[in-house]
């Protein structure tokens, strides 16, 4: 079982990202479970969502306490939230930032991957919502879900043109990571 | 098929008090609405005296569940009829007393009116909680003695004005609303017939004297129900789509004292100076009503 925790701020599509990822994993023929941290948080407040992906049924409805992967939708979260808590030793952190990993000042020797998802989203979607872009990066970096499954997942979630735009952003990030 | 007693949709044998204005009001309303009617009823005297197991006085399909939800239950009935294509089967009437309508049931009433549900709500207004032993309600008039607004050394009875429920209802901009009194049965029945012929939410507030709660002679129920109208304390009118479409004008307005003197709940107002001042204050309310509604051509106190 692989466990992913997504950190972001209210309004950045953190919950949607987890949903899309779980549905994508399902399309890949895997069992997936996703849920948000169920806050009553409003726009801008730190929020989390959780995804578990496994070959077998996941019975425990619990949050992700020992993630294999972290997706950080907003680098400012490093300042106020213990986003790294429980991350497995060989865990991977994907951060939305235009900085390089070494510039982030994260010690502990975790693998870090950075991608300027907000910039990509602004360019393609015209809105600073980095969630789908980061999923493209996640697929490219981990191979836990296929880019085809994410495509299917996004198409199932958003209407026509919005799906197309999101896909474009997702694929751009996927390519960038693959290269 | 069993035969109706005297063509009444509320059968006798019910256990309302002698001279009960509410029993009369309900019979007049139901007979005017006709047998194609489904009734929901709030908890209260009307429900208690008409449905003591295993006997029912109702000749129409009828349901009671709680005190404050008659309007909401009626909305459910109306929604079910609509959803199942049975709209033509029956009109829906929700009934309640003044407490069940103006106080605890006001929220549900507002919901039903606001949604535009096809329901006629009838409030039988006897100005206090009679079922539980004459406690004050939001429709109890000023100066009235009730068991929770008692007259005492430092109390002149109920201190609050009667809640202007018809105006609250009118603010929902419903297609039809009216006030009525069992003192004027033809007027009441005409209003009920008109209300049930209109689609959407309707409201009628019927003034129904309570001999037990008011300390009045049961034989004078009708007289009292006429007098309140004639004093201008309870103007009779209809509003359709927000416009005043009928008003019962008064040829000669009667002083409130004439209405008060027939009821023990106001007896104290005649005994002290303070009581007389309170009576004057209430007379002023009647005068204001007369002027605002234009009930008489010469709106001045007799």
């Amino acid at each position: 079982m692989k466990e992913i925790r997504i950190h972001g701020r209210g309004g950045q599509g953190v919950v949607t990202a987890a949903d899309l990822l779980a549905v994508a994993a399902f399309h890949d023929g895997k069992y997936a479970q996703a849920f948000p941290s169920f806050g009553s948080e409003r726009m801008g407040a730190p929020v989390e969502s959780f995804v578990k992906i496994s070959k077998e049924t996941v019975r425990s409805k619990t949050q992700v306490h020992k993630p294999d992967f972290l997706i950080i939708q907003d680098p400012t979260l490093f300042l106020g939230v213990d986003v790294l808590r429980g991350l497995k030793k060989d865990g991977l952190i994907i951060v939305n930032t235009d900085k390089k990993p070494e510039e982030l000042n994260i010690k502990n020797g975790f693998r870090i991957l950075t991608i300027p998802a907000t910039d990509i989203a602004l360019e393609i979607l015209g809105r600073p919502i980095p969630n789908t872009t980061l999923l493209g990066a996640f697929a490219g970096a981990t191979g836990i879900v296929s880019i085809e499954a994410i495509e299917k997942s996004i198409k199932g979630r958003f209407p026509g043109s919005l799906a197309e735009k999101n896909l474009k952003a997702t694929k751009a990030a996927y390519k960038r990571i693959k290269e | 098929m069993h035969k109706l007693y005297n063509n009444n949709l509320l059968a006798p044998g019910h256990t309302a008090c002698r001279g009960c204005g509410e029993a009369l009001g309900a019979r007049l309303v139901l007979n005017a609405a006709g047998p194609k009617t489904i009734v929901t009823n709030a908890t209260g005297c009307l429900e208690v005296f008409s449905t003591r197991y295993p006997q029912s006085a109702w000749e129409v399909p009828w349901i009671h569940s709680l005190f404050e939800n008659s309007a909401a239950v009626a909305s459910g009935v109306a929604a079910a009829l609509k959803s199942m294509g049975r709209e033509d089967e029956a009109r829906v009437i929700a009934q309640g007393g003044d407490g069940g309508t103006a106080d605890i049931g006001l929220q549900a009433l507002s919901g039903t009116l606001e949604r535009g549900d096809d329901v006629l709500y009838v409030c039988y207004d006897n100005e206090a909680y009679m079922n539980t032993g004459v406690q004050r309600s939001g429709l109890t008039p000023p100066g009235a003695h009730t068991t929770t607004s008692p007259v005492g050394k430092v109390s002149i009875g109920n201190k609050t004005n009667k809640k202007d429920l018809p105006s609250i209802v009118a603010a929902h901009h419903i297609p039809y609303m009216a006030t009525a009194s069992v003192g004027f049965p033809a007027d009441l029945q005409r209003k009920v017939k008109k209300a049930v012929s209109i689609k959407g939410p309707k409201y009628i507030q019927v003034f129904v004297p309570c001999p037990l709660g008011w300390g009045s002679d049961p034989a004078l129920t009708i007289k009292i129900a006429k007098l309140i109208v004639e004093t201008a304390l309870f103007p009779l009118y209809e509003k359709e789509d927000g416009k005043l479409t009928s008003l019962r004008k008064l040829v000669k307005r009667k002083p409130v004292s004439e209405y008060f003197k027939l009821q023990k709940r106001f007896a104290h107002l005649f005994k002290t100076e303070e009581g007389k001042r309170e009576m004057e204050r209430i007379q002023a309310i009647a005068d204001k009503n007369a002027e605002e509604y234009g009930l008489t051509s010469k709106p001045k106190a007799p």
């Binding site: - | 069993h2 109706l4 007693y5 005297n6 009444n8 509320l10 059968a11 006798p12 044998g13 019910h14 256990t15 309302a16 002698r18 001279g19 009960c20 204005g21 029993a23 009369l24 019979r27 007049l28 008409s50 449905t51 197991y53 295993p54 006997q55 029912s56 006085a57 109702w58 000749e59 129409v60 069992v182 049965p185 001999p211 002679d217 049961p218 034989a219 004078l220 129920t221 009708i222 007289k223």
Partner: protein
């Protein structure tokens, strides 16, 4: 055991409230003008009549009449008299 969640319509007629009376309305059939007030205003709905106008004869059903006296009070020609019940 069977208790239904409903009861049948109009079954209250089995409950004869006539026993509540202290006074009973004596319909004199003398000056009646057939206005029907006694029928309309009866809270029990237990007054019925035959004929029209001055030929009308109304009676209250003593099975149900509680003796409130409304009919006598509202009779415009005083053709109904309230009489003390005797045991």
């Amino acid at each position: 055991m069977s208790i239904e969640v409903f009861i049948y319509p109009g079954t209250s007629v089995e409950n004869k409230t006539g026993s509540w009376r202290v006074f009973w309305p004596k319909y004199l059939h003398d000056k009646c003008i057939g206005c029907g007030n006694c029928v309309t205003f009866c809270p029990e709905g237990c007054v019925a009549g035959k004929g029209r106008g001055r030929e009308a004869t109304y009676e209250a059903d003593m099975d149900f009449c509680k003796g409130c006296g409304i009919c006598a009070e509202e009779c415009p020609v005083n053709d109904i008299e309230m009489v003390r019940e005797e045991v």
